[in-house]
Symmetry: D2
Subunit: 289 residues, 4 copies
């Protein structure tokens, strides 16, 4: 392992001595702890940790580290993952008609503000191809009808799998994915819902928000799960609105919230700040990174 | 009419020349327009106006003004109300166990930050009587069971009506009022719901919010209507929370939001800034007041 | 005048009968008032109005309308401007190294979310030319040194004037413009300052914010005036931060705020929602537009 | 030590193995770690930790714990404090004319929402005595003039010291305390400044904010230091305002922000969530408490 930042995400039953055991493990191996963040859920008696290490002072190989950590983890019933930050994650963006999230993600990626390779854009419409071309990203137009749904999803799956995609971003992809598809990519699909979930689930949230006369409008980024709009929430935000807002102006105000909320959620995911537990997403803040 | 601020709230079908006709009416009568705020709902083709007048330059009596305005209003199908700001509104506060909204409303009223007379506090528990005593407000303990519900509501109604109450504030009164009761006080009962409606309607919103893993917690003040949690929204606010929040900490964070949201809604009502249209509340901002 | 929206911005000493006189004027000419917004500054005794009209029911020419309005305006000491919404405004964007505002403005303009023609990008560095090329906008690289400052500003002025530029957006242009230049374009230059003015004026606000340990970071869009960072504020926003934030993370968090704050300020300007009075910007909200 | 929560606040130069050493120390003594929060300032190479322990499984005495921890701390140059949560902190509130913060703090304390004993209210005016009486808190009226300033401060000091006051809250106490006084209570005096520092330092911030035409109004709670308005910032918040706001309405909007900002800062202090480092306050969030 050359000089690099190693991140562990850890989830296990809470028990005495956990922090001491885990931090001593890394200290003994010669790592320097850059940050250790933990969360104890005392309602469910669960422990969560995100620990970032500097590998400068150690010669241990990845294999040896993981084998060794497994020995510590097994008796403590630790569920864990490790990331070495040595290769960029591959990302696919799925869109339909709406362009604001797409521009924003592509801009951030191009400018190094999102640490990933956007390998492709997949759409059920040909409308946004020109944006893909502006940013030199392959664009796959895969139209879908009720009849061709499974077939189209198979095409999408082929594209994702043959390109070793690590994360799928549904940037206003207006199709409901099958349970089969979603279960194939657990905690690997991030969706932006254009409302403050659980308010205004489903379609036309801005119309519903207008009719309900709400005084705040919001957006939610969450992992896609089989129950639509019910996946673990990663990020949410709102903006004040007034009675003056029409469904159209709500949509425009909402678009700006969607941009930032989705981008932050994606950054948190790519940066290994998230642990999912049941239907809740533990999102650790950046630790001086 | 002595020197004072007169406010009109106006609602009617949108039509050409409305602003000119209404403002000319007041100009011709010798009023100075302090502010005129309007809202055109072009989806429903409705017009709304709040106009504040200084009566300094006019000798017209209230009766003459209203008779005269009625002549203007009738052919234009204007639904209107007028307020002369010459007597404080009478307010009743209904509570159960929770004290934070009660303290806040009593403090604001005592210190002149809410322009009203708090005439009484009504509760289905005796628990918060000491707060009423601190502020020297009559406290009525009217316990309620399923069996005595109608009877208790009749007692409440007697209290409200015999004291000429203009506004009932449900400051965390944890009983569902009957349709009959609510219909007796249209747009006269303001409720605080301890969540960001329409999310987490009904009981235990903080528990539900915890379980849903939301990243923002909120509160909503609305007029009470027969459909619980569905009345016109006056004011909403939220605060960011994290996965660290338990139902208990969400409740505590929420309490602070509830305080401000309810107080702002009450102030807007007392200050004649609100027109209700169907299920939407048009809430005009203060105009340099 | 064909069917179109006509907007007047009005500023004058406050006086009795203003609203009636102005709205009657437009009513008599056959206009329908879409919205009329006003603000009375009772400290300085000034009156401000934004009135939007539908010209459907009138045959009056622009010239006749303006001549006629002038007759009303002169005795009332009204300072006014009118816009017929019949031609897009020409915009120039000035940048240095930072790309996030530039992308955002170009995207909004290209997608019709900002109603203007971006005619050119001017920069004192050649670095962001590739973005101009992605969006097919002419890019002018005009380097500047202390010695060539006036000369370069003359070149900029030539470009702006020969292209009939209506609005200059300083989207993180890191040069101080001369008083002469700024006075040439009064209320025509919008600047984004990367802090919450008046906090952290001048350079390196994110470093200063870190050192001061602030718990919120913000951005300000304002009209450029001779006194640097002192021009009328159009729009501001903030985001919570923690002690974890380094100058680098503050800059990144700030960049997202800058994007939205500048875009909203530019939209408000292009949409004729702003009247400047001394050092204050009266920014009317959209009226159901 | 009976069953209780023990909190350590730790500050030292950053160095390898710190977390492991500290957490192992407590594990070896039989403590269960409820939460451990850390912050590494890599700019200044400093390490900060807040660790909360459950003493259930240990019989160690306070003296033995502290003696033992000292042995660990000395070679690591750890600056530390420990709190056993076994006695409520004594608080004094200083006020002048303004009542909103006072009510809010007294209400929270009385209702158990602030974990402290409010032992006294000290004021340079007699105006707010009735509030002290409502809440049954001793009120000391100590008027002050330029000439009697030092003498009055000596009286205040006597009161604070003879009552073993742990925290002084300046809840809109409109006197500038001497350097001598402030240095006597380092990190023991929390002040609320009625603006978003460092904007609008000094007196009349709402007037200044009006004149500057800001679009957000805020408040800042900070530790009092000799440099007025320059002490470590604990908490800040803002609210959007518009050009309609007068100095009076800004003051009213600001008062609500001040209430919450001061209350949150005091809670964070009483709950041992804050470590001061130079001019920056490290404020750890609650950890599921």
């Amino acid at each position: 392992m050359k000089s690099q930042v190693v991140s562990f995400l850890i989830k296990c039953p809470d028990q005495k001595g956990l922090v001491a055991k885990i931090t001593s493990f890394f200290y003994d191996k010669g790592f320097n702890i850059l940050s250790s963040q933990q969360y104890v859920n005392s309602i469910e008696n669960k422990y969560f940790m995100r620990i970032r290490l500097n590998a400068d002072g150690t010669n241990i190989s990845k294999e040896a580290l993981e084998k060794s950590f497994l020995e510590l983890a097994a008796p403590l019933h630790i569920d864990w993952s490790v990331n070495y930050g040595d290769k960029k994650q591959n990302v696919a963006i799925m869109v339909s008609h709406t362009s604001h999230n797409l521009y924003d993600l592509l801009e951030r990626s191009k400018e190094g503000r999102l640490d990933c390779n956007v390998k492709m854009i997949i759409s059920n419409h040909d409308k946004l191809r020109y944006i893909a071309e502006m940013f030199n990203i392959p664009f796959y137009y895969l139209p879908v009808t009720k009849e061709t749904k499974l077939e189209q999803e198979a095409q999408v799956k082929d594209l994702l799998d043959s390109n070793a995609i690590d994360l799928v971003i549904m940037a206003r992809y207006m199709q409901i994915l099958s349970a089969d598809f979603i279960n194939h990519y657990p905690e690997k699909i991030i969706n932006i819902h254009h409302s403050f979930l659980p308010a205004f689930q489903g379609a036309n949230p801005y119309r519903k928000a207008y009719e309900r006369g709400v005084k705040l409008i919001g957006a939610t980024a969450h992992y896609a799960t089989v129950d639509l709009d019910e996946g673990p929430i990663i990020e949410q935000d709102v903006k004040p609105v007034t009675h003056e807002s029409t469904p159209t102006t709500l949509k425009r105000i909402g678009a700006d919230i969607e941009k930032l909320v989705l981008a932050r959620a994606v950054k948190n995911h790519l940066n290994h700040q998230i642990i999912v537990s049941g239907n809740r997403a533990i999102v650790f803040p950046e630790a001086g990174e």
